[in-house]
């Protein structure tokens, strides 16, 4: 009896596992765009990997309707998802857009992150018409959810010259534009003017990271070790943004020319060496939970500089209102004399669902909100979002002096963005980046292991993960 019972149990378990696996298989095999064909029927398009027939239909309709160039049919109802401050900005944008075009109805939904969106994309249903993405996730989404996004080349190709060049490769899959840029984040060096002055450090003398380290030593000495010039998570578990700043400056990539993982690159080694030097010279502090620990350190004068995307200006104003007038910012230090000091740290994009019933309204709204000075002004004024749309950079909303800083961070960022190296985010960057965080940063900075060994071992592990993800 017992034996029979065991058999039955084993059978049941096997059946359950098969059932759940079958569920997964179904999820992958069904092209999300095609799964809800009734939704897609009203002149929407799909990309070539999806339903090709409907793509052809859509091209034809759009071709005739758009004869007058960018004169989209703006009637219809669409849903947009966005997070955080982008949400606040787009709510205002949608409100103004609907006032101008009463035939359009735009509902904005606030999301915490894209967990829900990934479920919707995998299920192929419930996908919002316009969805916000972290720009680094774009190529991954093109690969993982192929067929889910609308080809918006007809809109985007008109604006190629106006978009910050570094972000363009993330908006296209091959030659097709599937995404429009929202904010970008040219990196600046934010610093405490009062501490610099007290310690006799002249910010203009900081041209290279070596100069930065020298300044850090002076500050460390003058403040008896209280104030450090750099803070980052030595373990890399909560964030690895700081070492990545140098990595971006040096046009680093986690992938070699064959698309295989390669952590052991010059850019990574340069970044690691410079940061190790900061640790050795005792001018850096560990921030185990980087985001909140950094704010704590800044509040208590334990940290006096932060190299970060221009959006960090908003963080300072919001979380450190008491320190108004004590902050300023300048261009990043470079690795060598006259080296590149431009990098990008953060930013987002939007994509349009291939199933949208109102593709023209989506494109029309994106054009006005993200690809015009008027829209960029709303983004800057409501949420200090620095758009990728370059003509806006000369607008007063960007250039006017911010009293908190006594200068304009956005104006400076506008000057420091044309030479940013292309953003190195091929598909699955985030997944591979997680292995870099856990297997390269901690073992090197905390355990003090040999750099080459650490990077090679992490590369090996990440390569396996990459192959798994690509075949999934």
């Amino acid at each position: 009896m017992k034996k029979r019972m065991r058999k039955v149990m084993a059978l049941c378990l096997a059946a359950l596992m098969t059932a759940s696996l079958a569920g997964c298989g179904e999820k992958e095999n069904t092209p999300p765009a095609a799964s809800d064909s009734s939704d897609a029927s009203e002149g929407s398009s799909a990309e070539s990997t999806g339903a090709e027939e409907s793509a052809n239909d859509a091209e034809e309709t759009e071709g005739t309707e758009n004869a007058g160039e960018s004169s989209w049919d703006l009637s219809g109802e669409i849903t947009v998802t966005a997070w955080n401050s982008s949400y606040t900005a787009i709510v205002e944008g949608a409100k103004q857009f609907m006032e101008m075009h009463p035939e359009a109805t735009i509902t904005v939904e606030q999301v915490a992150d894209n967990t829900k969106l990934f479920t919707q994309l995998a299920a192929g249903t419930g996908v919002p018409d316009i969805m916000q993405f972290q720009n680094r996730d774009n190529p991954t989404a093109f690969d993982k959810y192929a067929g889910s996004f609308l080809d918006i080349s007809d809109l985007m190709s008109q604006y190629e010259k106006d978009i910050m060049p570094a972000v363009i490769p993330l908006l296209k899959d091959g030659d097709t534009w599937y995404s429009a840029p929202w904010d970008v984040a040219p990196a600046l060096l934010f610093y405490r003017t009062d501490i610099f002055e007290e310690c006799g450090v002249n910010p203009d003398d900081i041209k290279t990271w070596d100069d930065y380290i020298e300044a850090g030593k002076v500050i460390n000495e003058k403040t008896n070790g209280k104030t450090k010039i750099m803070g980052f998570d030595y373990n890399g578990t909560s964030s690895f943004d700081m070492p990545l700043i140098i990595f971006y400056e040096e046009s680093g990539s986690f992938f070699d020319e064959n698309g295989d993982v390669q952590f052991n690159s010059e850019a990574v080694k340069t970044a690691f060496t410079i940061f190790q030097k900061m640790v050795d010279e005792d001018i850096a502090m560990n921030l185990p939970s980087e985001w909140t620990d950094r704010i704590t350190a800044l509040t208590n004068d334990n940290l006096c500089t932060v190299p970060y995307g221009v959006w960090f200006a908003g963080t300072l104003k919001e979380n450190l209102a008491d320190q108004a007038g004590k902050w300023s910012c300048m261009g990043l230090p470079s690795v060598g004399e006259n080296g590149n000091n431009q990098a990008n740290s953060g930013g987002s994009t939007v994509m349009v669902s291939a199933n949208t019933k109102y593709p023209e309204l989506c494109k029309g709204f994106i054009e006005w909100f993200l690809l015009s000075t008027e829209g960029s002004r709303i983004n800057m004024e409501v949420s200090t979002l620095f758009d990728a749309y370059m003509p806006a950079y000369s607008d007063e909303s960007y250039t006017k002096v911010d009293d908190y800083f006594g200068m304009s961070p956005a104006g400076l960022a506008g000057e420091l963005c044309s030479e940013i190296p292309d953003l190195p985010f091929p598909a699955y960057f985030t997944d591979i980046g997680q292995i870099f965080q856990s297997d390269a940063i901690g073992p090197y900075f905390v355990d003090g292991k040999d750099m080459e060994t650490v990077l090679n071992e992490a590369t090996e592990k990440a390569q396996k993960q990459l192959e798994y993800l690509r075949n999934e």
Partner: protein, 278 residues
């Protein structure tokens, strides 16, 4: 005399250790509460860490501006309460069936139910989402409630509790002419209070803290349950208002604390009952 001193010393040390544990456990709550009264720039300033701030009301207004927090609390309460009532009813009926009836394939069926406990909700989410969107239940509280109902844990708990209920008693009630419904509701169920309480509390607490399913199924900020709503405030970006966030966290924890304190005695009893009768 010596012996007595020794035990006194032992219990003194014991209490000291326990006191340290209590402080360690309560400290995060205390800090959260204090932080809820601070301005954004005081939250991380060590000078204010142990002081009561004066920004509570402003934080409350900020929280209200960012979130319809009372709607969110109502959503959480509604979902958790309805879910708990349904779970108690359904699982106790299932448990009754498994423990009191003899039928073919009963044990096999029970094992299948137990095996279902091993499937994580993340695996089920995509099929569930498709199903609920076809049933027009996306952005509805019923989607969350229904998706949680087929839980195996409650069935298991109720079956274990009911196994100890004398079958003869049910039999004699039947002979006296009681129908099955009457048998269940008036004879068996009143005796299952400890098990029902512990299942009720566990279900309520689980549903109150449920993040993933409401996150995926709900679209409207007004309908969001508290954990999803609070997560909107807590992203590493520049407009985190920590004071408001901490106040939101306090408001999220408070109802569940009150609920637990009221039922605490029954809860512990229920746990013990389940543990021994298994």
């Amino acid at each position: 005399m010596k012996m007595k001193n020794k035990t006194r010393l032992a219990s003194f040390i014991c209490y000291c250790l326990l006191a340290v544990c209590v402080v360690l456990t309560l400290f995060p709550y205390l800090w959260t509460f204090l932080a809820a009264t601070h301005t954004n720039s005081q939250v991380f300033n060590f000078e204010y860490s142990f002081k009561l701030g004066s920004n509570l009301i402003q934080n409350y207004y900020d929280l209200l501006e960012a979130l319809p927090i009372w709607n969110n609390l109502f959503s959480s309460l509604f979902v958790a309460a309805v879910y708990t009532v349904l779970i108690l009813l359904i699982d106790s009926m299932a448990g009754y069936g498994f423990s009191q009836y003899q039928f073919k394939g009963r044990d096999t069926l029970f094992i299948v139910i137990l095996a279902a406990m091993m499937i994580p909700v993340q695996v089920l989410m995509v099929p569930l989402y498709i199903q609920f969107s076809k049933m027009n239940m996306v952005d509805s509280w019923w989607g969350i409630i229904l998706s949680g109902l087929p839980g195996a844990f409650g069935v298991f708990l109720m079956r274990q509790a009911m196994l100890s209920f004398p079958r003869d008693l049910v039999e004699s009630a039947r002979i006296d002419g009681a129908g099955e419904a009457r048998n269940f509701f008036t004879i068996v169920l009143p005796n299952m209070k400890p098990a029902l309480t512990s299942l009720g509390i566990l279900s309520f607490v689980n549903q109150w803290g449920n993040y993933y399913v409401p996150l995926v199924l709900l679209n409207t900020t007004e309908k969001y349950t508290v954990p999803v709503a609070i997560s909107l405030l807590a992203q590493p970006n520049f407009d985190i208002n920590y004071g408001a966030l901490m106040l939101g966290a306090c408001m999220a924890v408070l109802p569940i604390m009150v609920f637990f304190l009221i039922f605490q005695k029954n809860f512990i009893d229920g746990m013990m009952a389940g543990a021994i009768k298994g």
